[in-house]
Symmetry: C2
Subunit: 330 residues, 2 copies
Amino acid sequence: MKKLINAPDEVLADSLAGVAAAHPSLVVNASERFITRAGGPRAGKVGLLSGGGSGHEPLHGGFVGYGMLDAACPGEVFTSPVPDQILAATKAVDAGAGVLHIVKNYTGDVLNFQMAAELAADDGVRVEAVVVNDDVAVENSTWTAGRRGTGATVFVEKIVGAAAERGADLATAVALGREVNERSRSFGVALSSCTVPAAGKPGFELAEDEIELGVGIHGEPGRARGQLVSAREIAGIALDAINDDMPLSGQVLVMVNGLGGTPLIELYVVYAAVAQWLSGHGVSIARSLVGNYITSLEMAGCSITVCQLTPQLTELWDAPVETPALRWGR
Amino acid sequence: MKKLINAPDEVLADSLAGVAAAHPSLVVNASERFITRAGGPRAGKVGLLSGGGSGHEPLHGGFVGYGMLDAACPGEVFTSPVPDQILAATKAVDAGAGVLHIVKNYTGDVLNFQMAAELAADDGVRVEAVVVNDDVAVENSTWTAGRRGTGATVFVEKIVGAAAERGADLATAVALGREVNERSRSFGVALSSCTVPAAGKPGFELAEDEIELGVGIHGEPGRARGQLVSAREIAGIALDAINDDMPLSGQVLVMVNGLGGTPLIELYVVYAAVAQWLSGHGVSIARSLVGNYITSLEMAGCSITVCQLTPQLTELWDAPVETPALRWGR
């Protein structure tokens, strides 16, 4: 295992120390392990909280800030955050209007967020949850009942974040988050495995000419192993799978996301193929992201996420955002 | 070779098509191979042009936009752009106030930019150059007479970009660019090699427990091969090398840059160590960047760049910037 770390069991604490040192706009609660905006919650604003295992950076800590999340709870690498941690973060961002949990659909995450929500309710905090389950590759995989939650999480966090910033109430935020999730689909492809520091060896193995089609963000198996093919073919496989599940039309928001070990130049090669496929199918790209937004440590590969836009979603996507990983327009 | 590409000889063209499709704020001249801002040059503004081999994305195309570059010329992967290409871009961004070439110190780049500058002068365009040579690891390496130009290029492009946006003339822009370069130092460490698509195999080999100390951005040898050590020790080696060359004090701008294959969580681990080292040496971090800004394809590793700030440099660093890879404050 070759990593820029001090010790496998110090990765999370050390990386949080780095986040705290690098971003004066954030506050890291090192003992309870959550990240909030400096300055704390704004009275009367719905608090937005997300979290999950570490190793997917910049998700979620990199999306804490104006116009997006109020807090993030990072678990150990590829491990759910614990209920007490989520509870502490929930209370920290409650400003009287309730707290929305944005949860990727993994069994551990869903259970722990649920337990934290119940504990928070006992303490008088209203909590609702949006469970993101956009990955079309497989139903019921390792660690998941139903579909996995992947790239659409970034869209939910950004769009609901904009609405919450403008004063949307908890019920509106929940409905909007579910709408974004329902209008979004993802598909990922791995060219290599990745190594959880505490495990010390790769989570799976791929042969020199092999790729995993429909891989999950922890390296969970997808639909099939296949031969390495061209970026154009990979884009086609991913978009066919998405289009089969949710026929695409009109205007879309597209993300070509790197899984951590793939260089940006390759993501642009994939993006060109995605743009060509969509244009050939009469679909218009209204907005896009190309880069590393929801990663799987150093895994090589990419995921493609498409959201069918509405004028309202486009407008909320364009709203100002100021976080370490997503920033525009303010 | 496992890459998300269509064919090794189509990588540059395909990635430029992706850049064009992804960024409405940019215009890609596909035949002459350069990227400019949409809307063209603003009359009377000094044009800022940089370029070099591809494979270092987001450098340089990702830094084209308001407050930073006017154009970028990407060569083939790890190959200098050619004089005609640089000449065409130079003319495209000349708005009557002359053009500044920001050139990383590699022999091919320096010669080709120089030749382009002479050709531009024949056509009546005033051109000056700032050659960036911030890498303290080695004097005279593969492809380089003198020191290599690496991370400080991002600082030069941002700070001179801000000054040019405000109307600095060519002589002022040149002097400022040289000042930033002189106040900046870098040191890189590789944990793995990388593969140029046209070569099809890694440029060098590292054993499972080996790292390259002082590696160049094309995998050029550094000072020594060493054993893999902790992030804290690696930060110490890099900062000692920088501090030996330019004793650090006062306020600095720091970049912990990923070489392409290293996950963000590890860069934050390194950043924490850098912050601790600097604080222990009485140096104060005034501004920072953590992420992939000048990469070496999928190489695992990082580089550390430090710039000794002045109040003027800090103020120009903070000025609004709106590019695909760096964006704030507008």
